[in-house]
Amino acid sequence: MGSYIVRRFFLMLITLIGMSIVIFALLRLVPGNIADILFDSAGFVDPSEKAALEEELGLSDPIYVQYWDWIWGMMHGDLGYSYVSERPTIDEIAPRIPITAKLAVLALFFSVVMGVPLGVISAVKQNTPIDYALRVLSLSGLSLPSFWLALLILMAFVHWFGTIPIYTSPPDTLWDELLLYSIPAAAVGFRSSALIMRLTRSSMLEVMRQDYIRTARAKGASDSTVNYSHALSNAILPVITIIGIEAAFLIGGLIVTETVFNIPGVARFIVEAIQWRDYPIVQNLVMFIAVIVVVTNFLVDLLYVALDPRIKYE
């Protein structure tokens, strides 16, 4: 087990190095670079000025030199300068991370408080009209484009309340912040909650068929005791692992939501940075996300080994 963890840890490092190469190469395969973008706002491209600009930004160096500069800098805590704002990359990225993190946590909170209880109810009331209604609801949650839902929410707010729940300036109090983030978080969380509800339901159903549940029932334990203390506590494990993974993947859903609600988080920032070909921002942000995802996967894998003795690791 110990050696497995050590091995797994090294594999994780290899993955991250591979990731850095892939994202680095991929970005340079995308046609156009920052010099083209900067000239765009001037309405023309001047070849000699463009060459000077590429020289200044180090884009004319050989590709392996550029890669090494990035890795070397990263190991020394120097993430370089954003091409667009000409400020340190870390100053551009760091203030945006907490915003997206808060949004993600809140979205996760919504999806869990909605998804788990509804999933349990659906499983307990299996094949009743309630079950069917909840399943259709959860499926529609997975079927609505999240930006569409967000747009409908915005329009409804303006129409009925005359205000718009978008980000225009940083919130002053914790309460304001909660209010500001809760609507976009609910819009994203709706989709995740559908996923969690479905998982909870199937996981519950599986556990309820197990022998020990039947035994508990045979011993005369009440329905609610069986459902909530025995079944749920066992069914929740796979759900938790999925929530862990889902957390890292929420960022995909957050891209469009941050766009519609105008929230200055990292998710939208990454899209803009790709469009601007702002390599230092994209590279470092993607690596940051990758580290989170890879570490989460690592922990989930460890959990699997601990939980499922059927899986053999040579």
């Binding site: 594999l11 994780m12 290899i14 993955t15 991250l16 591979g18 990731m19 892939v22 994202i23 991929l26 970005l27 395969l29 995308v30 046609p31 299996q126 094949n127 079950d131 069917y132 399943r135 259709v136 499926l139 529609s140 997975l142 079927s143 609505l144 484009p145 999240s146 930006f147 569409w148 747009l151 329009m155 199937s202 159903l205 599986e206 890292a248 993947f249 960022i251 995909g252 859903g253 891209i255 469009v256 766009t259 990454i270 899209v271 790709i274 469009q275 993607v286 996300i289 990758a290 995802v293 890879v294 996967n297 059927r310 899986i311 053999k312």
Partner: protein
């Protein structure tokens, strides 16, 4: 993923005593009413996609000054967009694009995913180690971010959007197939085949592959809906299928959203089209999973 399923037996059991094909279909529809609805919705999508040219009352790209933002009714049953293009015709033709994106990217993603997953789970060793790292790398990025980078790298077009969406599916499929293959390797019938001296590749193709089909179909039907949604998100962000193709996602994006209160039909009908298509695909996916993976059957 440790359960081995014999589909024909399961299906025979499900339709026990029913002989005619029609009767069987009726029996399945009654057993899985939601699935039947999903199948109908999906068939509707396929039908619209295949016969769009015959079904659509107008050309989906012809503009008309007279019909700009025309309200539903009259010659434009679902209204017209800002450029006077008929919404009904655009939605019908849009089915073709959603179908192409959904089915196309799922097939491409599954094809490469299965090859990678099967080879990786069966061969193990160095090959597995390398593909696993590769898969880890691809999975370390959220699907939409991956699709965004790919879409930017390839440039906006229908083909490139299909490819951009299929690539993030590969690791997903490969992972499931690999873990299924891993558990299959330990199964008595595979060990038995080994014992009687069957070659490795024959075992993989004859015994392992058929038994991974069920999870694959489950996965593929589940991916169908999410591929259509990803295309919509990409188009919304301006990186998906370009004008003048009548993509539903594009129809919902930017300009349509601007005119939503003046012309709500621009946002409502394509939104409903996407939601119904994805809803149908999801219902179908659920039913297929229930049939093929009875562990989770309700």
């Amino acid at each position: 993923m440790t359960k081995i399923v014999n589909h024909s037996v399961e299906l025979a059991k499900a339709g026990a005593g029913v002989e005619s094909r029609l009767g069987k279909a009726w029996f399945m529809a009654r057993t899985y009413p939601l699935g039947a609805i999903g199948l109908l919705l999906f068939l509707g999508l396929v039908f619209c996609g295949l016969f769009a040219d015959l079904l659509a009352p107008m050309d989906p790209v012809t503009t008309s000054a007279a019909s700009s933002l025309a309200a539903p009714g009259g010659i434009h049953a679902l209204g017209a967009d800002m450029m006077g293009r008929d919404m009904l015709s655009r939605i019908i033709h849009g089915a073709r694009i959603s179908l192409a994106v959904g089915v196309g990217s799922t097939i491409i993603g599954c094809f490469f995913g299965v090859i990678l997953g099967l080879a990786s789970g069966y061969l193990l060793g160095w090959f597995d180690l390398i593909t696993q790292r590769f898969i880890d790398i691809m999975q370390a990025l959220p699907l939409l971010v991956m699709a965004l980078v790919m879409a930017a790298a390839l440039g906006p077009s229908l083909e490139n959007t299909v490819i951009a969406i299929s690539i993030p599916l590969i690791p997903h499929v490969a992972r499931v197939i690999r873990s299924n293959t891993l558990s299959l390797r330990e199964m008595p019938f595979v060990e038995a085949a080994k014992a009687i001296g069957m070659s490795e590749s024959r075992i993989a193709l004859k015994h392992v592959l058929p038994n991974t089909l069920a999870p694959l179909i489950v996965l593929a039907t589940a991916q169908l809906g999410s591929a259509i949604l990803t295309e919509a998100s990409l188009s919304f962000l301006g990186l998906g299928i370009p004008e003048p193709h009548p993509s539903w996602g594009r129809m919902l994006s930017e300009s349509a959203a601007e005119y939503v209160r003046a012309a709500p039909w621009l946002v409502i009908f394509p939104g409903i089209a996407i939601s119904l298509a994805v809803f149908g695909a999801n219902l179908l996916g659920d039913a297929v999973r229930d049939i093929l993976d009875p562990r989770q059957r309700s």
